[in-house]
């Protein structure tokens, strides 16, 4: 890290010191208030319609239990999250976690798999994509295969995941990686090809080597758009991880849905769907915060997706 950037950071943190923290926080709350209110109104509207349908007797509580029912008996549903032990052969009854802890572990397990998959997939994709453009022969050898594999549904890889990794975290993470990898490699290449020529020419006239041009110009230039691609693919990752879990590669939210299906428990299905929705939203929110921190130079509202 250069002296300049350190000086820059010092002066920036000095300028935005404690005095500004409180008003900025208040301003932030005021800024997001309409979003939150509209979000609440939107969810309230659909939950309300559902409740009305239940009240007039059109929605059968046994098949389509309205929110007040499936959220109302959280404690009752939470006990089904105790899927942890179903796959831990030899675990004693004394080691069974409480219902709340089981929900927490299940959420943690699924979220952890999605996160691990995203990190591995994006690291691999950027590395492979850059290597394809950097080493011509490597590109010629790998790109056709990657293009061929990209349209294959990740579900088709499920047997491979189980052959390779058996049961546990491995296959679920593998599925997330496979679901994202090929698209992200292609996106990386596309971004590299579209880097502003002038930025590259500036580096070249300054005497930058090929390596320096890639590391200092091309990679930082493609990161913002790749982050957007990653956020788009986040939803695909959530879908795939549920399928992987449901097919019996361990415990997790997918496993709970499967259990609910097998035991004909609509309340548990909707409760889990609500959980997944909230988790997906929070994950996306966290990624937007990360984007703002990591890609500080991207103006807000251009590369960033608007809306929720």
């Amino acid at each position: 890290m250069s002296a300049i950037s350190q000086a820059a950071r010092a002066s920036r943190s000095g300028a935005g010191g404690q005095t500004l923290t409180w008003p900025r926080w208040v301003a932030a709350v005021i800024a997001v208030a309409p979003t939150i209110l509209w979000g609440a109104a939107s969810i309230g509207l659909f939950a309300g319609i559902w409740e009305v349908l239940w009240a007039v007797g059109w929605a059968d509580a046994k098949l389509l239990p309205p929110p007040h029912i499936f959220i109302g008996n959280i404690a009752d549903q939470a006990k089904f999250f105790n899927t942890v032990n179903r796959w831990q052969i030899g675990a004693g009854q004394g080691g069974v976690p409480s219902s709340a802890a089981a929900v927490f572990y299940t959420i943690l397990a699924t979220t952890g798999r999605v996160f691990a998959g995203l990190v591995i997939a994006s690291t691999l994709a950027v590395t492979i994509g850059v290597a394809i453009r950097y080493f011509r022969v490597f590109g010629r050898l790998t790109l056709p295969t990657i293009t061929l594999l990209a349209p294959v549904s990740p579900i088709a890889w499920l047997p491979v995941a189980i052959f390779l990794f058996g049961i546990g975290n491995g296959p679920a993470v593998f599925m997330v990686v496979i679901a994202l990898l090929f698209h992200m490699v292609l996106a990386t290449i596309n971004q590299i090809d579209n880097v502003n020529r002038n930025l590259i020419n500036v580096a070249r006239t300054m005497g930058a080597s090929k390596r320096q041009t890639y590391m200092r110009v091309i990679v930082p230039a493609i990161l913002p758009q790749l982050f957007v691609v990653l956020r788009f693919n986040l939803f695909a990752a959530w879908m795939v991880v549920l399928v992987a879990e449901a097919t019996g590669v361990g415990y997790g939210l997918g496993q709970v849905i499967m259990l609910a299906r097998n035991t004909f428990n609509p309340s548990l299905v909707f409760f889990t769907i609500a959980l997944i929705g909230v988790l997906g939203f929070l994950f996306d929110f966290a990624m937007r915060l990360a984007q703002r921190k990591l890609l500080y130079w991207v103006p807000q509202g251009t590369a960033v997706l608007r809306g929720l």
């Binding site: 300049i4 000086a7 002066s11 002038n198 500036v202 300054m206």
Partner: protein
């Protein structure tokens, strides 16, 4: 081919450039360019859009290879880009992820100079372009004119002997452009570098040039070279400037007409 005797900043001999040669899309951008630029000289390349004057800058910068003839800079053949010949574009093309100071120090950091020296040179260079305050700012916090001054500072930090400027002020409003022209003349005087400045604005040529090189429409050839002997700072409304403007306009008019006719023929076909 004439022998290269002089130590001129830039020497072009019979330079030609064909884009995409041997393909159906091939088109001839430059033909038979002979041009010598003296050290410290300010030369404006004037011509209609698409006449190949930007192409010539790219060839001199070493970013593209000529398809005919030869180019030399201070006696050495131009084979690849060099920090001695800095190119400045219409857009400032600053790296948005770096601060202004880091942008100015970019070339130095590529060259592996120590951080303390980089910071010092960046500070001094920004002072020269009047942007000391902006050193820790990010490019998107600056106005268009300020960004272009940072781009000039980034080039100056490498102590170039030739500044190649490709319509650098074309995207700026008229008032800012006039300011930037004065600024550039100041920088040029202090740096002692040669400047090759591409524009299609006759006023800009009148305000800046020691010599104006007028290009023909495609393929780009040198139509005429006009020496400008007006003292600086120049009064754009003096009779001499007026006469020069009229002369350049007349020279350019045929070429603009030809370029238009050619474009219309292209659209028609």
């Amino acid at each position: 081919m004439r022998p290269i005797s002089s130590r001129n900043a830039v020497v072009c001999r019979d330079v030609a450039k064909v884009w995409a040669p041997g393909t159906p899309r091939a088109h001839e951008a430059l033909r038979g360019i002979d041009l010598d630029i003296a050290p410290g000289e300010f030369v404006v390349l004037l011509g209609p859009s698409g006449c190949g004057k930007s192409t010539l800058l790219y060839l001199i910068a070493g970013l593209e290879d000529a398809t005919g003839g030869g180019l030399w800079s201070f006696g050495d053949p131009v084979e690849k880009p060099s920090p001695e010949r800095s190119l400045i574009f219409q857009e400032a093309s600053l790296f948005p992820w770096l601060t202004v100071g880091q942008n100015v120090a970019f070339g130095l950091s590529i060259a592996g100079r120590p951080p303390a020296e980089r910071a010092e040179i960046a500070r001094q260079t920004l002072q020269r372009v009047g942007l000391s305050e902006a050193i820790d700012k990010r490019p998107d916090e600056l106005s268009g004119g300020m960004r272009q001054r940072v781009a000039v500072a980034r080039a100056l930090a490498m102590q170039p002997k030739v500044l190649l400027m490709d319509e650098p002020f074309a995207a700026l409003d008229v008032q800012t452009r006039a300011k930037m022209q004065d600024f550039l003349l100041d920088v040029w005087r202090v740096s002692g570098a040669s400047v090759m400045f591409v524009t299609h604005h006759i006023d800009e040529a009148v305000a800046l040039a020691d010599r104006v090189v007028v290009f023909t429409a495609r393929p780009g050839r040198i139509k005429t070279i006009v020496k400008v002997d007006l003292p600086r700072p120049r009064d754009p409304f003096s009779p001499e400037a007026e006469a020069l403007r009229r002369h350049l306009t007349a020279q350019l008019q045929d070429e603009v007409d030809r370029a238009f006719a050619e474009q219309e023929a292209l659209v028609a076909s």
